[in-house]
Symmetry: C3
Subunit: 138 residues, 3 copies
């Protein structure tokens, strides 16, 4: 049995941003030497998501618009802000898009469908964030 751990770092220029990180995760799989197994990818922060969907600009705008409509940035709208924070919306957005993905590794590669791409979704960016890639298998 093999295990492998990598940490990726991202700092978005915008407060909210959506980055296709499939290539970085694929490289971690190559580095692991695992041929058959599972690959976990998650932000180590609680105002970001890792999710899988299409890399299409209009769709990403749809996602962002949907999340901002349902859980808008609102300085007065969240009890969390009594702690001095202003990112209550980002915590809710992250809950809706989820924390992590687990992806199958088959024959040494991420076993993704034709249009599946791994995204890092930042909801409170402009600062350095960390993503863990944990791989186990053989």
């Amino acid at each position: 049995m093999k295990t492998h751990t990598e940490y990726l770092y991202f700092e978005t220029k915008k407060k909210r941003d959506y980055m296709n990180i499939t290539n970085q995760v694929e490289e971690a799989v190559r580095n692991s030497g695992v041929q058959e197994g599972l690959c976990l990818v998650n932000p180590m922060h609680i105002t970001a998501s890792v999710y899988i969907n299409d890399d299409e600009d209009g769709l990403i705008q749809d996602f962002d618009g949907f999340l901002e409509k349902i859980a808008p940035y609102d300085l007065k709208g969240y009890r969390h802000h009594r702690t001095g924070e202003d990112n209550g919306d980002a915590h809710v957005k992250r809950q809706l898009f989820g924390r992590e993905v687990v992806v199958a590794i088959t024959k040494g590669r991420l076993d993704l469908g034709t249009w599946e791409r791994i995204f890092y979704a930042e909801f409170d960016g402009q600062r350095r964030k960390r993503v863990i890639v944990k791989i186990i298998g053989e």
Copy 2:
């Protein structure tokens, strides 16, 4: 250590549909010979979800009604449609219900609670879709 991979295929008659696939996944676990481990199940498409909840018709209608209300089918409502697609709603619905489930395998069986059932939720069907079952353990 053992690993096992199966691909399941589904083609729903309706555009949106919810199928209990617990038996197919359980069969993959039997085929794997794994006694203790983890079982990942996910669609390899980005307009479908695999989730776990109750197999009760009224509840499934509630789920479908909730998703259609919050992210309705709307030809003019999604920027994604500038690419010629009409399924922006299906991508959002999939984000809300998530992509995958990871289920424990204990004593050679899916270690599910009394009412836990694995569902394939199709949000843009009437075409052939693929689901991967990846099992690792011993």
Copy 3:
């Protein structure tokens, strides 16, 4: 390769409640002896979630308010209630917050970010519920 299974039990006093269970999961990891691997945590019930976010009271109130607004308790509002149940809202809330988390284990510990805490979210409580912790690795 090692595997380890524990079942945790919770009975909340309130119908909806949010409990930080990080310490219990960390203890299961210690009990497993696994140094490098994956840890799955999920309720074995379909009206509860296990999720990861901040342990901050205001934020938890925000989460609860958000869920109750988007999927309110409503005796007449869910088809699921034709079966005699009254917890349709709890099933929808669980879908939005997800079922499970998968957490990396590194050097014998949960590899969590600074503010990541594992929560058991109960949406239909006041009765005994079970959570599985399944650990695999080496």
